[in-house]
Amino acid sequence: MRRLFAIMLCALLLSGCALSSEKTRPNDTRMVVLATNLPEETVLPFICEFENRTGLWVTVRTGAAREVMDMARAGQCDLILGLGADTMEANRDIFRALPYEAELAPWVPTGSNWMPVFASRPVIIYNRNLIQNNPPEEFSDLLDPMWSGQIAMGDPEKCDMAAMTLTILGGDNQSELEGRFACLRRNIAALLPETRYAVDEVAKGNASLAIVTSQMLSDRPLGSLGRVFPGTDTMVFTQAAGIPVGAANPEDARTLLSYFLSEEVQTLAAEHFDGISVLSIHSADASVNVYDARHAGQHLWVVMEAWAAVWEDAQ
């Protein structure tokens, strides 16, 4: 009787722990994991259409350039998107070989493992309330002491747009690089986790000017922002894609990459991203000074070392 009572008591207590719950499980779903440093809202319209067309599901993971690269190294994603060509070229070993480069983007170095997907132009933005006369016209103008403490910029250690800015501003040898970076360091007001935050910083007046991409200005009113496309150094900033060696689902990743390179997507992207399609960079706009990815990729480590030296000295 005592045992029965004890068993009943235990059953009574345990019954309170069992609660029903709704469970859902998709049918045998194929899924691609996309890691990108672009804002999710930028890529989502393309992704939704892709899912609608193919029935593949895409999981989007966002982060800064370094985080995206870490995900690629760890095999946590099937495709990465949005990193600059120099960063991709500098880390080409962690990506699978792609078959597209010759026909889609002749300027991509032969044998590259990455592919440009989106393109936009670097642009100098400034707060028109703070700079009413004589805004900078060239990238090199940003090194002028008159902009001391007035430039917002992403952290080059984390953000490849900022790293690209360094390569734009930098010179050919170590001393030249460090000299220019010292001038830039003097002019920096805030170092941000990502370059796109600089748009808000300048708009709010926390900084006077910054180098961003035309893509970052799409779909938003300029308001107090003024923008300058540097005339003599006009170039495009490509946002590239690559399939990591450790990707779990490389075939579907390739399908997604092909979709990004399709005419519909590129046309739509060109509408959104300042009219530049990676398919037409080489042929459509002869005035564009195409970014030398191979050189930048090889030169990136030197640039970053010079920057690190200057930054540590300043600290």
Partner: protein
């Protein structure tokens, strides 16, 4: 533990009280919790399922209407004609569109779109803008002959579309139905309670509608990730919720109802915490109460046990200190009373034993050289005979008979033998008092066979002679016997001077003190009471100068006869 309980009355009371107070409290608490949570969850589940089903029904209803209208418009001549002619100002077309969409215009916007994506007609007040023909809903509609559904390009609306085709199958344009957030709000209003949220997920489980405008930004991703991994939907750490889903058969969209749990884990934990607190509090109270009660019950028992031990050890002065008026108090009083009576009886017994011992000593002293006295009396008797003095001879013979009876070892003799001794004694007294009194003995023969203590009647007769009729010229004494129930009543009556007051008082209220006079009377009374108890003894009726009656009452004990019937 078992031994600990069995060893002590206090422990048993303590454990019993603890058990019968704690277990019901604990069981009731747990039972109440389990039933309450279970019923609440069941009611919530039923309610949630009913609400999401109602929403799904509404959604299916509007989809059915949309498909019917899309079919109507797509096959209508007016629409085809307008699209074929790229006419965007056809009055007939406007009328047809408004007429067909009258009942659903609160729930969606309807656009008629040319094959190049230009929106030609709309039920909205403002033209929504052009569509991309190779993108989104138009691309899907162009590939299907029926109504198709996709998420809107902005990701926050639901689009349905159907291609309008010519008779040869060429696409002339499209009918596009767009359900914005406001439309879906109107559609689902009243189908779910305000405390719940409705989400609509696209076929790829991207959130296209939320009934709540402000919700955590990462919740859609969390839900999608949970759905993909097959886990139970939680929506992240934004409060514990139940999710109920209905998948649309026509649209592949999924309706999700998010229902906050009434008894979330933290609420349940709080309940269990309070429950535990109450149980611990109850435990402490019960321990205190059980301790007090067991102590309260065991204390008098302990006192009594201790007192019993002391009494067993011989301390008869032990008294329990009574401080209570309940049953234990009364029990203690009874115990004290019993102890006192026991002590009194013991003292009485000791006293009687002492008296008995003294009597035996006296008897032994009295028996010293009895044969010497008897032989002397016998010599006197024969000297009286030899010298022709018959009275001396008779007195010596009678005295010898009395002496023999008094020193014999028999404690009890028959009444007949006692009466014979009395007659011997009377013979002596007649000589002494020169026949100034007479004594009559009138005892039925059958009563004379009863056993009585030896010499218990003779002292009464002696007392009647010495203190009653000694000074009279014509004294009269009568000895009678009668039966009163089971008692034998012997009466010695005389017409003497009667008993003095102080003697009467001593007889009525006897004490252990020996009186100075009427010693025989006192001794007989004591002998009868010692032998037969308080119901036996002597009673006296006396009137000064009128005489007295001394009654002896004792139980009737027959002589053990040797065959034949004993008359007693």
């Amino acid at each position: 533990m078992k031994n600990w309980i069995r060893q002590s009355f206090r422990n048993r009371v303590f454990a019993s009280v603890l058990l019968i107070t704690l277990v019901p409290i604990f069981v009731c608490n747990v039972l109440t919790m389990v039933i309450m949570v279970g019923r609440s969850n069941r009611a919530l589940s039923q309610d949630g399922k009913a609400q999401v089903t109602a929403c799904a029904d509404s959604f299916r209803g509007i989809c059915a209407d949309i498909e019917e209208i899309a079919d109507t418009l797509s096959t209508g001549t007016v629409v085809r004609s307008a699209l074929r002619n790229h006419s965007s100002d056809s009055r007939a077309m406007f009328q047809r569109l408004n007429q067909a969409c009258f009942f659903i215009r609160d729930f969606c916007r309807v656009d008629i779109v040319f094959d190049d994506g230009v929106c030609a007609y709309t039920t909205a007040e403002v033209n929504p803008g052009d569509y991309r023909p190779d993108w989104g809903i138009l691309r899907c509609a162009a590939q299907s002959d029926t109504t198709v559904y996709t998420a809107g390009e902005d990701g926050t609306s639901i689009c349905a579309g159907q291609a309008v085709r010519s008779r040869d199958g060429a696409v002339l344009g499209y009918t596009v139905f767009t359900m914005t957030r406001e439309h879906i709000d109107s559609l689902l209003a009243g189908n779910y309670s305000d405390s719940n949220d409705i989400f609509i997920m696209s076929p790829a489980w991207r959130m296209v509608y939320s009934s709540r405008s402000a919700f955590p930004a990462d919740m859609p991703q969390i839900l999608r990730a949970e759905h993909l991994s097959g886990k139970r939907l939680t929506g992240g750490d934004y409060g514990e919720c139940n999710f109920y889903s209905v998948e649309g058969k026509r649209t592949d969209f999924t309706l999700l109802l998010r229902q906050p749990m009434t008894f979330a884990a933290r609420v349940t934990n709080a309940f269990y915490g309070v429950n535990m607190f109450l149980t611990i509090t109850s435990l402490l109270l019960c321990i205190a109460y059980a301790f007090w009660l067991s102590d309260h019950l065991a204390q008098p028992v302990d006192k009594m046990t201790s007192a019993m031990s002391r009494i067993s050890a011989g301390d008869l002065d032990t008294v329990i200190d009574i401080t209570r008026e309940d049953e234990f108090g009364r029990l203690g009083e009874d115990f004290n009373r019993m102890t006192a009576r026991y002590k009194e009886n013991l003292e009485t017994s000791v006293s009687r034993q002492r008296e008995l011992d003294e009597t035996q000593v006296r008897m032994m002293q009295a028996q010293l050289n009895p044969h010497f006295l008897y032989n002397t009396l016998d010599s006197i008797k024969w000297m009286g005979v030899t010298n022709h003095m018959p009275e001396i001879a008779r007195m010596s013979a009678d005295l010898g008979a009395l002496l023999r009876a008094s020193i014999s070892g028999d404690e009890f003799i028959t009444l007949e033998q006692e009466l014979e001794l009395i007659e011997r004694y009377l013979e002596i007294q007649y000589i002494r008092f020169e026949d100034r009194f007479t004594c009559e003995i009138d005892v039925p023969w059958e009563l004379q066979q009863c056993m009585i203590p030896k010499l218990c009647l003779q002292p009464i007769v002696e007392n009647a002679i010495i203190h009653g009729v000694a000074d009279l010229q014509e004294g009269y004494i009568k000895v009678t016997g009668s039966r009163d129930g089971g008692d034998l009543v012997l009466c010695v009556a005389d017409n003497g001077v009667g008993f003095p007051e102080e003697i009467m008082e001593q007889i009525l209220h006897p004490t252990d003190m020996h009186p100075q006079r009427h010693l025989g009377l006192f001794n007989v009374n004591r002998i009868l009471r010692l032998n037969y108890g308080e119901g036996s003894g002597i009673s006296v009726q006396s009137e000064p100068g009128q005489g007295s009656r001394v009654l002896l009452r004792l139980p009737m004990h027959p002589k053990e006869s040797e065959g034949g019937t004993n008359p007693c």
